[in-house]
Amino acid sequence: MNLYKWPYKNEFGEEEIVQSDVLVLGGGLAGCYAAIAAARRGKSVVLVEKGATERSGSAGSGFDHWESACTNPCSQVTAQEIAEAYVNEQDGYSNGIGHYIECQEGYDRLLDMESFGGKIRDTEGEFKGAEFRDDETGLMFAYDYKNRFTLRVWGSTFKPALYRELKRLKVRIYDRTEATALMTETVNGRKRGTGATGMNVRTGKFLIFQAKETVLAMSRPARVWLFNPDLTGLCEFRPMQSIGSGHAMGYRSGVAFTMMEKSVKAEFSSAGRSFPPYGTGNNHNTWYAATMVDARGVEIPYVNRDGEELKTVSERYYPAPGQKFFLKGGVIDEPKYEYRGPETLPFDELMRRGYQLPFYADLSRMPEMERKVIWGVMVGEEGKTKIPILKNYTERGFDPQKHMLQSYGNGWQSASFLPQERQLFGAPGGILTDWDLRTNLEGVYAAGDQLYAADCCGFACATGYYAGRKAAQASEHAAFGEIDRAFCEREKQRLYAPVQREDGMSWKELNMAIAKAMQNYCGGVKCEDLLKEGLDLLLHYQNDAVPQLCAANPHELMRTHEVLDILTVSIMILQACLMRKSSSAPLCFERSDYPQMDPPENDHFITISLDDAGNVVRGDVPMGFFGDLKTEYERHNQDYINGEPDRVDRG
């Protein structure tokens, strides 16, 4: 039997109004921490999550390392050093505010996590005596063992722990509910957020979330260039349902974004071009610093930033002579000399020296503790690895003491993509905020992957909590806005239209068309005419294809709404690309009609937003607009520094 009656209630046309001081959109790490921060201040909090908060978000099934915990007791670096390094590393196209918050408050969030029941240290002494373990605290470090600011963590325990804490704090969780639009009102010429609309993705019920303050904590966009109608869930790195709806609804409501012209050649799409992340032999990120060998079993040398060959495994985890610290992990790809850590020889050099493909990761040659921590903790706790990789490979007979795992292609992505196959990856564009993580709209905050140049779970947790506490504080001086009935009716019509059609186009056909258009018109090399043709085509899709979309049930309707959001984001990306009339190395942005790289007059943030009439508005924001990071952070956070006096719930 292949046809089933829809198992959930039919609530199309029904409506529920929900009020809260603070509304959090998105139940990933950032959203959970935002909700916790606000609830700790005694505010009524509503959390809206399209999936199930227990495991939702990019880190829902786990994550293995927490970057930039500079205030942990073993750290040899300061928040200022690492935050400034991240900004410098990305030539200023970085989120200094978010990074400083991550570096300064990240470890506090880890301690929170431990108090909720998440595992952040080796409590059983499994790794006692290991070089990466501090035997006094049980904390375990990754990458730079001298400076000890990145922690290995048991991330698969985190989301269930957060979920329990949210319930304990009586946060009202609306799971299986997609947020669809921000509600706003304009009073005395100032636009402010008044909440959001949503739809239950199992029943179709329409929800109006009225709130004094709203935190956008949803995902970054995806499925913009990459789409596979067969294995849709595998065509991007992040979860299938994380496609940037927060960006789309923010853009439609006038929220300002920056760096939306940045995209990189794809790194992951295991629907075809690549293998599942962390599931092949490699020596990056989760797998750092695995021993790599060539087809004959000849070991591939690691070198430091000066090209000096490293003799021992241990040396792979220490800065070079004269180097204070090195950066590795999330957004760090090919770092500047100043921050460059140990690495295997470049692929071209290996070919020149006669190394033979395929390469393998051979953990059997590593000291026992290093082997056990890569295969068992890192692979295991990193998202999407515990079951499909650690468990399944083990069942297939893989033994890290006896087997070596193959690499594919020539890089750690184990993939080879074309220049037009792109992703928003490596600190992509997003929402621009002030030091309160408030957007240009009063009453609307942003956190985690919705922020521009965001990265890593620590960043998500720290900025989430920060946005939540700022929103909670602001809610004390705010009142509920009026519900704009006309807006809600229009939104309801927009949402329900596809399910009211008996026949028409599926969401997959439109997503496929958008992805092909973006590859054709917004690929590796861009120019004015090409981008304009692309925009014209997407506007044609909006006018002519969208009215044909059809969905049979709330699930298909949710997917259809996602593609409408992907279309909005794609249009925003083309418009942002048109604005930057020069090429840029840090933004991975190449224009054939403006080939000059980063000319001084363009070396700054360009913002994009829509005005009330729907016109695209450009803004120009100087590099380093966030000021001196430490000074500004301290100026804005005396309350936090003094122990959060406004906290009501102290766990």
């Binding site: 046309g13 829902g60 099934s61 040398p301 051979d362 040659r365 690895t385 490979y393 329900y496 009211q500």
Partner: protein, 107 residues
């Protein structure tokens, strides 16, 4: 708007989830935790959920982690994504010359 709604199984080239009917008790924990909501409860109580949208699986494993019946549900990558592994191999075993003055290590 109150019309009867239906769902079809939308097949794909892979089979991400396989249930062992002899172990599954049909508690639907997996369907509750699935982020992409690809499962629906089986119309017959006590039987494994129905995988309506296998192509939307992103292979996170949350369903298996949530399952209380060991072995009732199996998640597997598509065949093309099952990476290859081989017994460890050392240059000396193959009688090959090393191209570099890299240190020689065994075991």
């Amino acid at each position: 708007m109150k019309k009867e709604m239906y769902a079809f199984v939308v097949p794909c080239s892979a089979r991400p989830l396989v249930f062992d009917e002899s172990r599954c008790v049909g508690c639907n924990r997996c369907a509750e935790v699935c982020q992409v909501d690809i499962l629906i409860p089986n119309p017959e109580k006590g039987r494994p959920p129905v995988v309506l949208y296998p192509g939307e699986c992103y292979y996170c494993g949350s369903c298996v982690m949530a399952c209380r019946q060991e072995g009732a549900i199996r998640l597997q990558h598509p065949l093309m994504n099952q990476a290859k592994f081989v017994p460890v191999r050392h240059a000396a075993d193959a009688g090959e010359e090393k191209p570099l003055p890299a240190e020689k290590r065994r075991g």
